[in-house]
Symmetry: C2
Subunit: 252 residues, 2 copies
DNA sequence: CGGAAAATTGACTTACATCAAACTCAGTGG
DNA sequence: CCACTGAGTTTGATGTAAGTCAATTTTCCG
């Protein structure tokens, strides 16, 4: 059915694929020598409110990052995949719970050690700073999505950015595996599970996507999807992470 | 009318009031010697997409931080007040436009210089890191608000956190000046201006707030408001900014 | 194969948006 | 000092996107 299309998966995708940029080197230094740990689907790496003592690098698998409100509602802030580093953005305690969706392999590093290493090495320091900036950028993007897009647009945005996370060319059709449940998606987009389902069905009906089982999707017309999403993909660029030094409008 | 209540204002509120914490010292070092600049209401300090060459510290006044979507809708990401530092969270280009709501006094620092200073001083480095973490925390909090709260709850949250920003005691009534327009608030909360107005009227009708002119509000029953907001205030704690070193669940 | 969790679809309700019309207020100039 | 003005705000009438409640159907895992 999808014979001629390159199959991609959100599982097992490297963050900075097989290059040797400063970032990659920094990660190697940080986590390279540490032992790999495992956790079963459904278990938490850490919980919102726990003392934030460790930083985690996902090696494979997928986690949901969420907060539970006092009234019981759940807000899924985002998802973590292979290559992602968790637990940098918080201060004393973790801001979210990180729960394995699939079995997850990961490595972890004491935050004290990270701090020490950052103090030693400019490279590591700028790696940490880059991670933080990335998180700011992603979060603000999601604020825009939740605040200004309608349900259908939000879902389109989610699908396109999921595809973008996994491969480069954002114009050709993509096959992707959504490891999370419909409820995870709903809680991430500020919608109900029923609305997510209905909209998935609608996107299928009008030919923008196709599906194979619960978790496999084909985004058949990326441009239409991107349009639907309000051309909002991008903005969370993930390339260089050094401070710019040029001066534009304001004299130095 | 409000004789016995301490009048507070979002304008002119210092970030870390008159203490001598490491943070405050770091700011002094950063901006202390720089000249003060001025900008009229309605003008922009910087625009989304501009090369991010400077970091700004607001000295007085209020700015709105927003992004315009391709379809013309506006997302107000947040507001900046005296003591806030803008332009740290972005990388090559500013992520948002920062536009003066009132006349604004501010100081600015070339990002290159900031980077150099951070490389020199651990204190300045941890100040930058703290600012970034604060921004992550605030943004994620807002994701929760937009994704999970209903209109009335969002407005209550906005009012309570505006009061919290300006003074300590979160239980007693607060008088506060909202310098932004209803439209700013609406675009910040993902609502329409009409909904914001109607809900303001409703909160007045049921006695949770009172108003004096367009911009002055009294939050008469903070606890009820905080309840309405889903007890969601806090979580964006703004105290210490050093990395924790304790290990809790995971052995080092 | 059986069973439970997840997903889907339908019927109905509602919270918020939209459209439209006043009203308020702060600033300006006569 | 007051009338005029336009931006900002408020309120009302109505529409609609998304939520809620309630069955089914599908999937997948032991």
């Amino acid at each position: 059915m999808y014979a001629s299309q390159k199959v991609i998966s959100l599982r097992g995708m490297p963050l900075a694929a097989s290059d040797s940029s400063p970032t990659t080197v920094a990660i190697e230094n940080l986590f390279g020598s540490l032992p790999t740990d495992k956790i079963a689907a459904g278990r938490a790496l850490f919980r919102e409110g726990d003392a934030a003592s460790q930083v985690f690098e996902i090696e494979s698998g997928c986690v949901r990052l969420y907060r539970i409100l006092p009234n019981g509602r759940r807000a899924v802030i985002g998802f973590g995949y292979a290559g992602d580093v968790l637990g940098v953005g918080c201060k004393g305690t973790y801001l979210v719970t990180a729960e394995a969706i699939t079995p997850v392999r990961f490595r972890r590093l004491a935050r004290g050690r990270l701090q020490a290493m950052a103090a030693e090495s400019d490279l590591i320091q700028s790696f940490v700073t880059a991670k933080l900036r990335e998180e700011v950028s992603t979060s603000q993007q999601h604020i825009v999505v939740l605040g200004q897009l309608r349900a259908e647009e939000r879902l389109a945005y989610f699908l396109v950015s999921a595809a973008r996370r996994a491969r480069q060319d954002p114009s050709r059709p993509a096959v992707l595996e959504l490891l999370m449940t419909r409820l995870d998606i709903a809680d991430h987009l500020g919608l109900t599970i029923e609305t997510v389902c209905r909209l998935m069905s609608k996107l299928k009906r009008i030919g923008l996507i196709a599906s194979q089982g619960r978790h496999w999707l084909v985004l058949r017309r990326m441009n239409d999807l991107r349009n639907l999403a309000g051309e909002l993909v991008d903005a969370g660029d993930a390339g260089q992470f050094t401070l710019m030094q040029s001066s534009a409008r304001w004299p130095s």
